[in-house]
């Protein structure tokens, strides 16, 4: 088998689950199979936004980020479910558990995709055979479809997995880059968003091939070091290792909410901000980390999006601390225009065990009291389920709750 593996170099797989949330729902309730299905925040809200949809729904033209109302117009029989993140996290854990049996070098990228370095797994078969085994096992045991890219590095593996969906397996060799990747528009490249594509277009770079042959000097001037990096990628070069630890030092914990309408009322926006702060706090506590940088994302009704960050004086994890900082940052940067989406993210994370807090003579008594309150709430949550006790401010008449965006995924 070793002869199928390169002598110098690696074999990297990118495993990408196909319409993950929808697939998990179908696996959970097989009667949904073969029917157009979409996951959307609060389906009863016409303006709720589609997070994922099944391939059947896609044939009707239903797309992610459409409103429920638009999607229903295209596909009147569309079944819409609210997201169940606990279920998705559970499925994700099982997926990575399976992947780790093929190689210890598994790097989760998000809830539904990951890289595997199988260079040393030749005893299990050729790279293609291993990919088939993985795809089958995920499908048979979890009823979850995935696409797999096989390549000498992460970038090419990622590009390859994207080429055939659902249930594709694509091999992308470095020597095939000019024929396969170069004709594609630059925006099709992983790592090039719309903004970067605009900048590239300004330089006359329209395709990945243009980028691969662009001058270093020009790229560096316009895009900095990242320009050079993108050019390397366009030539099929990517030196990043598959790092199983990468996911352990998660870079950030964030939450965003798409509002049911363009919101201009400060009071309501602050209530949403508080809600987000509380969710971030819950996730920080679950991951046992504290954050030392905070950012607030505001998307206006015209989709113009701004993100403002702030370095904090010390690590925080409590909802009230997060909210106090987020509120300040938000009020400083909000233009007053109607808001579509709000997000709060904490980054610069440290693990709790290492994040010690020096108590203060003038406030230790409150700290001590709060600590015992938090412990008590924690116990109640464990006993009766999460959120059994909530601050009164969270209680609102039913039906007005906004839907969370893609939990666990970073919005770019």
């Amino acid at each position: 088998m070793e002869s199928f593996y390169p002598k110098n170099g690696r074999v990297v797989l990118h495993v990408d689950m196909n319409s993950f949330y929808a697939s998990v729902e179908i696996a959970h309730n097989p009667s949904l199979r073969g029917r157009p299905l979409a996951i959307a925040g609060k389906p009863e809200e016409r303006k709720g936004i589609i997070v994922t949809c099944s391939y059947e729904a896609r044939t009707f033209g239903v797309k992610t980020t459409m409103t429920v109302w638009e999607a229903k117009k295209l596909c009147p029989n569309l079944i819409i479910l609210p997201p169940n993140f606990e279920r998705y996290r559970g499925a994700s854990r099982e997926i990575f558990h399976i992947l780790r049996r093929y190689t210890p070098l598994v790097e989760p990228v998000s809830i539904d995709e990951g890289y595997l370095d199988i260079t040393s797994s030749y005893a299990l078969g050729t790279p293609l055979a291993i990919s088939e085994l993985i795809q089958q096992e995920l499908l048979e045991r979890l009823m979850l479809p995935c696409s797999i890219g096989i390549a000498p590095n992460k970038f090419l593996a990622k590009m390859a997995s994207n080429m055939k969906k659902p249930l594709g397996i694509t091999v992308l060799r470095k020597r095939e880059v000019p024929a396969v990747l170069w004709p594609l528009p630059a925006v099709a490249m992983h790592g090039v968003g719309e903004k970067t594509a605009d900048k590239l277009a300004g330089l006359g770079i329209m395709t990945i091939g243009d980028l691969a042959q662009a001058s270093d000097h020009v790229l560096k001037n316009r895009l900095g070091v990242r320009g050079i990096q993108l050019k390397e990628r366009a030539n099929g070069i990517d030196r990043r290792k598959v790092d199983p630890e990468a996911a352990n030092d998660f870079k950030s914990v964030g939450q965003s909410i798409t509002l049911p309408k363009d919101e201009t009322k400060q009071q309501e926006l602050l209530r949403v901000l508080l809600q987000l702060s509380e969710r971030v706090a819950v996730r920080l506590q679950r991951k046992k980390v504290l954050g030392e940088s905070l950012s607030v994302m505001i998307r206006y009704k015209d989709w113009k999006t701004i993100t403002r960050s702030k370095k904090l004086s010390g690590p925080i994890e409590k909802a009230e601390d997060i909210f106090a900082e987020a509120k300040q940052l938000f009020l400083k940067n909000w233009s007053g225009n109607g808001i579509r989406l709000l997000g709060v993210t904490l980054s610069d994370l440290t693990e709790k065990e290492q994040a010690d807090v020096q108590l203060d003579l003038f406030s230790y008594e409150q700290e001590a009291n709060k600590a015992s309150l938090a412990e008590a709430l924690d116990k109640l949550d464990k006993k009766y389920g999460e959120g059994v006790i909530q601050p009164a401010s969270k209680k609102k008449p039913a039906g007005k709750e906004a839907a969370p965006d893609m939990d666990g995924k970073k919005s770019e």
Partner: protein, 378 residues
């Protein structure tokens, strides 16, 4: 102005007043040293407007002539250059003469410097302190009071009042308190006074540090006069003025625990050395945190763990452990700072809980205590 003076004595005085002079002052004349020659002797003044120091060299001391004054007068000379010049003069004597419009000649041996001076009339007047209520402390005790408290003042300007040491005088007792809100130093001493006045002032930590450097280690009394916004320390041939900090010092008396749930008795030196060793690895972390826990009725364990570097544990014998078992984390630096200023071979530590301040005192000495806030580890 013209005089000749014994160089070593002169250089020492220049050094002393230099402590008050800052190169970053916004008032240009304060970068200078003011020299006044009178019939009685030479007076040197330095000031940064927060601290002002006056050093006097009498014409004659213990039958020895120190200064020979030929013409009285005043001048202000650049402190940095003047200090360097005086230190390096070749002969045992120096002669200073203002020749014309502030130009000053300094002669010693075969060397002759000419320095451009500044108009002494432009030098600000030092605060006028009424000779009112005076109280006295021996120099060595004053220095001990400073050393045992000033290290705990806050280095941050977020609460300016905490950058000073709180001095409270009541019924012949002086209580000094300093805290940066993470630890607190408390020291009490009897003062000698003919008055019954009560004071509650805050002296900048920086002033006390400088004062302590200038004072020698004698038992001579230092006279202290406190006004609304100034404090004056008067030692032999030396006046030290400091501005007081404005604002009320927080009342810390209720924050110092009076009860105790756990009490340890330890040998100061052994404990200090164990903390020092444990902090070797802890220093890299954010807070330099060490853990203290109990093993049995007369054994405690000091430990520290920095995941990237390694860990350390050490057992320390306690003469006695009373009360509940405790596990507590704290900053090794704060503990070492506190232990270093406690005199006495045995100390006791009183805890009231892992999330509450604890108090360290020397055995059989209630004139001093050090309080430290623990670190909450998750």
């Amino acid at each position: 102005m013209k005089f000749s003076i014994q160089k070593d004595r002169f250089a020492q005085s220049v050094q002393d007043v230099l402590k008050a002079i800052s190169s970053r002052t916004t008032i240009p004349i304060l970068t200078g040293i003011k020299i006044d020659a009178t019939e009685e002797g030479i007076k040197l003044t330095g000031s940064d407007s927060d601290i002002s120091i006056e050093s006097f060299i009498p014409q004659e001391e213990e039958g020895k002539v120190l200064v020979d004054i030929q013409q009285t007068g005043s001048i202000v000379l650049n402190a940095r250059f003047f200090n360097e010049i005086v230190k390096k003069l070749p002969s045992e004597k120096a002669e200073i003469e203002v020749i014309s419009s502030f130009q000053t000649v300094i002669r010693s041996g075969q060397a002759e410097f000419s320095l451009n001076g500044l108009d002494p009339d432009e030098y600000p007047h030092l605060p006028q302190i009424e000779e009112g209520e005076v109280f006295k402390l021996p120099t060595d005790l004053l220095k001990a009071l400073i050393r045992q408290t000033v290290f705990a003042v806050s280095a941050s300007e977020t609460r300016p009042i905490l950058t000073g040491v709180n001095w409270k005088i009541e019924e012949g007792q002086l209580v000094c308190i300093a805290t940066d809100s993470h630890r607190l130093a408390w020291r009490k001493a009897a003062v000698e006074t003919d008055f019954n006045a009560e004071y509650n002032v805050v002296i900048p930590g920086k002033s006390l540090n400088e004062l302590s450097k200038i004072l020698d280690d004698s038992q001579e009394p230092v006279e202290i006069v406190i006004t609304d916004n100034q404090v004056l320390f008067r030692a032999k041939h030396l006046l030290f003025y400091s501005r007081l900090l404005e604002g009320n010092y927080p009342d810390t008396s209720r924050l110092i625990p009076t009860d105790s749930k756990t009490k340890l008795e330890l040998n100061t030196k052994e404990f200090l050395q164990a903390i020092d060793r444990a902090s070797l690895l802890a220093r890299e972390g954010r807070n330099n945190v060490v853990k203290l826990s109990m093993i049995d009725e007369n054994l405690i364990e000091i430990s520290s763990n920095s995941p990237e570097i390694g860990k350390v544990t050490e057992q320390v014998r306690s003469r006695e452990i009373e009360g509940e078992e405790i596990k507590i984390s704290f900053s090794a630096k704060y503990m070492m700072d506190a232990l270093k200023v406690l005199e006495g071979t045995e100390i006791n530590i009183q805890f009231t809980g892992a999330m509450r301040p604890f108090v360290i005192r020397p055995e059989n000495d209630d004139s001093i205590l050090q309080l430290i806030l623990p670190v909450r580890t998750y």
